[in-house]
Amino acid sequence: MNKTVTINISGIIFHIEEDAYEKLSKYLSTIKGYFSKTDGGSEIMSDIEARIAEMLQGKTSAVKQVVLMADVDSVMETMGKPEEFAGENVEENSNNNSQNNSQTESTEPIKKRLFRDPDHKAVGGVCSGIASYFDVDLVWIRLAMFLLIFFGGLSLWIYIILWIVIPEAKTTAEKLAMKGERIDINNISKTVKEEAEQLKNRAKKFGQEIKDNQGPRNFFDKLGDFIKEFLIVFAKFFGRVIGLVLLIFGVIFMFGLMSSVFGFSIAGSNVEFNDWINVIFLDRSHYTLGLLGSILFFGIPILMMIYGGIKLLFKIHYSNRWLNISAGLVWLAGFMIVLYVGIKTGIDFNENGKVKEEIQLQSKKDTLYFKLNSGKDLMADLNLTDDDDDEIKNKKRHRRSDFVIANNGHAKYVVGRVTLNIVPSTTDNFELYVVKKAKGEDKRSAVDRAKNIQYKINQLDSLILLDEFFIVPHPEKFRIQEVQILVKVPKGKVIYLDKNLEYVINDVENVTNTYDGDMAGRRWKMTAEGLRCIDCKGLDMDDDDDKGLPPPPPPPNGPINVDTKDAKVSIDKNGIKINSKEADVNIDKTGVHINTKEEKK
């Protein structure tokens, strides 16, 4: 048993089943929507209704009085879908306009949509489609696209994405939609307003329905409907916004990726960069593979972002399953490649190796002088230029990146800067260590690698000359090798740090919390609390100004001459001579002579 509704079409009364009625009524209102703004729309509408009435009449009889779903379906099939003949209407409408210029423009009922234009295509019809969408001359779009492809570097991808994402205008209706209503700011804001209005109306209608509602079950049904509709409208409203955001970010990321890939390929022709590839990756193919993998790994999501953004922005409801799946697979492949290369390379950085070598000190004195072997010889030896040196110095405190590639004509080396650390000694003597560190696949290879680091220290009595650089010999890989000079200073003894150690001193603790760089050029005494500066008096610790510093002590070799207002001291091959206001002391081959002024009186 089915409920029927009585309707009147074109003055004829029909009994129609409820569901068939719903369908027919929707169909008619759709057609009405298409023709509502057309010249003579109501006339067309009544003609169509008359024809439908006639057809339905043919399907009913004295025996079969009720119009069924099948009847409505057959009528709809004969009459055609509104969009099939709406295209006709618009075209005629525009013909009409050209024939009859006095007629003012009628609003076209079709909303403009983005399609590829197969009729004016050069490659995929993307440019021509965009040109019709934005109502811009095709030439400009093509020119822009051309310039971007050849000078922008990225839009070839964009073009391909657009090609995939934008459907081709195949049917007449689509072609008309392609050229449909002009898109401008007014129009877009109108659409947005309409969508917002729709949202509001739904809410209002829902409120009304609640008021009139008949039962609790009904309420929940309606609430469900409402939420569903609300979400749809909401998605419509914000879909564009989200689409735009996705698109913008996608393009920005794309630029980023493109320029880094571009950068890498430029750098690939750079000798130094190539050297780095050789010392970091196990072999060259790992690098190429890694680069490829990263492009896929980062590129695919970016492409999909742009793809989705365009789809949302232009409301393209068309999804390519094959594309999604293959994008997913390619991404996965990229991920696997990155993972493989990453693990393969990373495994070689897995374990830390450390070798501590003690250096026997020649001097037993209470003060040790530390100075950097400026490394000019070494640099010359390795064809390092001052630029490289500057490069290291500019990085100053980012010690971990203080590495350059050097070569001495035969082979290439990784060269790094040493660091210096000073700690209290547990014994009564100075102790000097060279701590070498490296990373490796396992402990053993890491230690072996650390042992391979070349570094040398020269001693001239109490003067310790530190090489500025250490060398990782060829063909050893770069595995974050480090060299640290560790000095253990016993209580009460003093070390002097030469000015040129400024960038080498690393995180040395001292009583005054003096910054590493400022510790250079001073003497430090180990006290119970820690290192204390003994010639920094009167100096503002925060002031980096070097003026007023006492002169560094003379080197321990050679003659010493001190000349002040009140006294003179000279130590040379003849002996020691001290002349002061009150007393004179002379030590020479004739013996020790002491003369005091008082005695003279």
Binding site: E43, D47, A50, A53, E84, F85, E88, T172
Partner: protein, 109 residues
């Protein structure tokens, strides 16, 4: 496949106007009659196409119509060619034949 369908649809659309006028020149008719004749020639795929076209022809003054009561249904709208319409049809027919000749010559080469 779709492309040829498309072209055919475009061609049908172009000559539809001419056919309607020709049918009406043989005597007045109401839409259903016109549709039946057009269906024989397979020129109309969906009926909906016809109504906007008829209204437009009428509005440009090529056609007029009169109402006639029907025994079996709603009153029928009988369309009739006006004098302008007849004149128009002659011209269009003339150019149609010329065009067909030219087109045939072109495609038969």
């Amino acid at each position: 496949m779709t492309n040829s369908e498309n072209t055919k649809a475009q061609m049908r659309k172009g000559v539809l106007e001419l056919c309607i006028l020709s049918i009406l020149s043989q005597g007045d008719a109401y839409p259903t009659e016109i549709i039946d004749k057009l269906k024989e020639t397979k020129l109309v795929v969906v009926e909906g196409t016809l109504y906007p076209l008829l209204t437009r022809l009428k509005n440009t003054g090529l056609l007029t119509y009169r109402w006639e009561e029907s025994t079996s249904g709603p009153p029928r709208k009988y369309y009739k060619l006006t004098e302008i319409g007849e004149q128009f049809l002659k011209e269009v027919q003339q150019s149609w034949f010329e065009m067909v000749d030219m087109v045939n010559k072109t495609i038969q080469k």
